[in-house]
Amino acid sequence: MAKHKTPLLDQLESGPWPSFVSDIKQEAEARAKNEKGLDYQIPVDCPEDLLGVLELSFTDGETHWKHGGIVGVFGYGGGVIGRYCDQPEMFPGVAHFHTVRVAQPAGKFYTTKFLRELCDLWDLRGSGLTNMHGSTGDIVLLGTQTPQLEEIFFELTHNMNNDLGGSGSNLRTPAACMGMSRCEYACYDSQELCYNLTMEYQDELHRPAFPYKFKFKFDACANGCVAALARSDMAFVGTWKGDIRIDQGAVAAYVGGEFAPNAGAHSGRDWGKFDIVKEVVELCPSKCISYEGGKLAINNKECVRCMHCINTMPRALRIGEETGTSILCGAKAPILDGPQMGSLLVPFVEVNKDDDYQAIKDIIEGVWDWWMEEGKNRERLGETMKRLGFAALAEAAGVPVDVRMVQEPRHNPYIFWKADEVEGGWDRDINEYRERHLR
């Protein structure tokens, strides 16, 4: 027997998509039965009260969580999102409903052993509800009480060798696409670089020291499977120098219909026979592909490495051999001064594990030093870039100015020069001028 009546939520149990309402009810039932005989450390009916408060919000169209919440574990300035219900007497099970962010493995590959251990921990000390995963990448443990935070942290670190993720004005939990683990487009090992930089910058992740939040994301190619360009202040997007590798035999197989274009991604509808000219050659944004006499040719000097031809014919076309990453800065959501995507800062940098990615770390630290000094309170890197100019960012990163940093040159003439770039500098005497120009 459910604790609260939930007629509105019950409607979300119908339909084909997995119902979060049915799932929460299932967890509520399992806790009520308690077949393992657990000594639940927070109210056993926590999930039921969550459904209750959600139903109330559905009824009156308003949230019922109080503003903010500052909780955490000793030693860290972030990792836990505190939350309190504004109807604690009606829903005591969610009077406290804190969220714990747990660092996830890059690419989110798991063993059942790890997940079972995590579930055992969370069953005992939490609500039994999770978010797999938060949009930044963390494993999200959804709903527990303040006294459990240190307990959970102790067990996570001592028994599971796992840490919390980030929150607050700091480096947030980095995330990567699956990269080389199972993708032939990967230009660098995005999981490895993600892991390495996460470990390198643990201090910056756990102890807020920045003007505002800062995110890394790692895409191993321009397809952007973790959307680094849109959702990280510093995006690492894999690319290559030199030529796309072409297997003419495989090209013929696509033209002949033996291989499905886009690996069969459009097989749900009849788009007719594959037409290499229409679907590849003519769609190339730089028009640098030709197909003549049954032979595909690419003028690689003009190729912008957009991935379209490779995506369409993955068995015939491969990324080049000299690979690395581009670095783009400044992506953010609209608040305060409008949304931004990453702007190209570094066209190409080697991803070199042998020197522990030093070239990349130099750029990151240059940018941080500048932004930590110049950034205003709660100003994202993208906004600091807007305020102080892209040239200041490039200088901070130690990156030479490059034509690829702009989509087009400025059209206004408000151009600043440094005094030492101008003969004679700025110190001029009006009297000297008047000698040549009468008043």
């Binding site: 500052i70 909780v71 000793f74 102890r207 003007p211 709660r378």
Partner: protein, 105 residues
Amino acid sequence: MAVVEFQGKSFEVDEDGFLQRFEDWTPEWVEYVKESEGIKDMTEDHQKVIDFLQDYYKKNGIAPMVRILSKVTGFKLKQIYELFPSGPGKGACKMAGLPKPTGCV
């Protein structure tokens, strides 16, 4: 809201144990909070951080950025965590009686 009684004083606090009103702050508040913030003994260094936070708040109406706290007190972030294990926000600001940090924390 909960009311805390300690050494003859009473303090109105929220769920996270932050003072509801900065004006209610007294030295007893620090004595009351320190244990829950993992601090055994208050030192001059603790006091220096608290004094600066209060001065800055009175003057500017907000808590200082971490960078400014470090610069003025001369304590690196690492030292601030050694003094206040839950950090400058949850630890030092709470003890200094400043309002609870807000935003996307």
